[in-house]
Amino acid sequence: MFRRLHDAAMIAIEFEGRILQVAPHETVAAALLADGAEHTRTTPVTGAPRAPYCMMGVCFDCLMEIDGIPNRQACMTRVQDGMKVRRQDGIRRLER
């Protein structure tokens, strides 16, 4: 659905265990949309699938676990080589 406007030297991130080639200036949300990710989190209450929406830090629909930290805004986080990204699955648990 989305395609990159410009060619760039790519870096690698990991999304749910899969290696993606992404452009270094992109946010995690943009990179995943360009890759065609269908959903990036499920909601805390009903478990409904959600994807990045506002792309400007307001709607909190792009929450993901990034490098082990849950509930990060993927649209506000720039990709880094070797970054590990997972879907935010429902509400965050608190460590015992």
């Binding site: 509400i91 608190l94 460590e95």
Partner: protein, 373 residues
């Protein structure tokens, strides 16, 4: 509709609750509300329905707060029926957490004074030790600095944003009239009718209720009332959503029904400034982490400042004008706690003249102390 049985000036927590109650009693009720950019304490508060800290020096205010807390379960059901909105009311008690022996001693002295003041009515609040605190909060680890807490079974909390929305929607569904962008600039009184001149037209009614928060300061003298209120800022923080872990509200930490932890607050005398400061934000967060160390890894998503409406003794003001009968004022910083009492008891007082016992205690005349000779 440019005329009504009663005009309520202010669509915040006080105004909406009273207007809802007046409409429930069958009065043609009109809320005149200001613009979106006026200070709105009702949209920035903490959501506690709180009794244990209310009314030092004025037992009537303790009783009024407790009465409201005890009316709340029915009130929540009533709002569910009339507005179709759940306000997530919970009333399993609440705690004020105590860090260190100094806080414990201060709180014990306060409780002793409240108990003395309450006399035979009693003051249902006790110090519990650290182990008892942990027993009552089984799903979260209590920090080592916590020496105990004061626990009051009447305390509770609601979702305050949904409360405000439920009051508005319930009011409208019952046939109430609401006008926004109608800031009242003048009130005149002729032939037993009040005329409110606003930026959105003129409206008349035989009764008028001033519940406009800080807007009351300029309006009250127009109907012969003196209402000495001042602004006080409170800063509040909210975290990302977390699985349900905190089953009771604490004075300065509660977990909302939607999962976020809310931390508060400050008491700052810096005028009509609703900003935030980093130093207070970090102090508030640090205290919350001292209560519950597991919160250290939880991330804040928002903080905000809100300007309370504070009376000189922190207790509510309810008054009817002597020179302008039919003009009422009602205000307090405890709009959430008092919403149930406002919707039932205060509305009955305004609609039908049924004055609750010793209600004169709430008159602002209590501040008119003659100057010493």
């Amino acid at each position: 509709m440019n005329s009504a049985d009663v005009i309520v000036v202010g669509g915040g927590m006080f105004g909406s609750a009273i207007a809802y109650g007046l409409r429930r009693r069958g009065l043609e009720t009109l809320i005149l509300d200001g613009h979106d950019d006026v200070l709105r304490a009702a949209r920035g508060n903490f959501g506690l329905v709180w009794v244990q800290s209310k009314g030092m020096g004025m037992q009537r205010y303790t009783d009024w707060s407790r009465e409201s807390a005890r009316l709340y379960a029915g009130f929540a059901e009533d709002l569910n029926d009339s507005a179709g909105i759940s306000i997530s009311h919970q009333n399993k008690g609440g705690m004020q957490m105590l860090l260190g022996d100094a806080e414990l001693e201060t709180r014990q002295r306060e409780i002793d004074r409240m108990r003395q003041q309450a006399g035979p009515d009693g003051y249902d609040c006790d110090i519990i030790d650290r182990a008892a605190v942990q027993d009552m909060l089984p799903d979260i680890r209590v920090g080592n600095d916590v020496v105990g807490a004061s626990f009051c079974p009447d305390d509770g909390h609601v979702n305050p944003l949904r409360l405000l929305r439920a009051l508005h929607r319930g009011f409208l569904r019952l046939g109430g009239q609401y006008r926004s962008c109608c800031e009242v600039v003048n009130i005149s009184h002729e032939y037993h009718r009040f005329t409110a001149e606003t930026s959105g037209g003129n409206f008349t009614a035989p009764k008028i209720v001033l519940a406009a928060g800080h807007g009351i300061s300029t309006l009250a003298p127009m109907v012969g009332l003196r209402v000495p209120i001042r602004p006080q800022r409170g800063q509040v923080l909210i975290t990302e959503r977390i699985e349900a872990r905190l089953n009771l509200p604490i004075t300065d930490v509660r977990q909302t029904d939607e999962g976020g932890f809310q931390f508060g607050t400050t008491e700052e005398d810096i005028g009509f400034n609703d900003g935030t400061t980093l130093i207070d934000t970090s102090r508030i967060a640090r205290r919350a982490v001292q209560f519950f160390p597991q919160l250290a890894s939880v991330r804040l998503v928002r903080n905000w400042g809100c300007v309370r409406v504070l009376t000189p003794d922190k207790c509510a003001i309810y008054d009817e004008s002597e020179s302008h009968p039919g003009a009422f004022v009602a205000t307090s910083h405890s709009g959430v706690t008092l919403a149930a009492a406002n919707a039932y008891r205060a509305a009955e007082w305004i609609a039908d003249g049924v004055t609750p016992p010793d209600f004169g205690t709430f008159s602002a005349r209590r501040f008119d102390v003659p100057a010493a000779a």
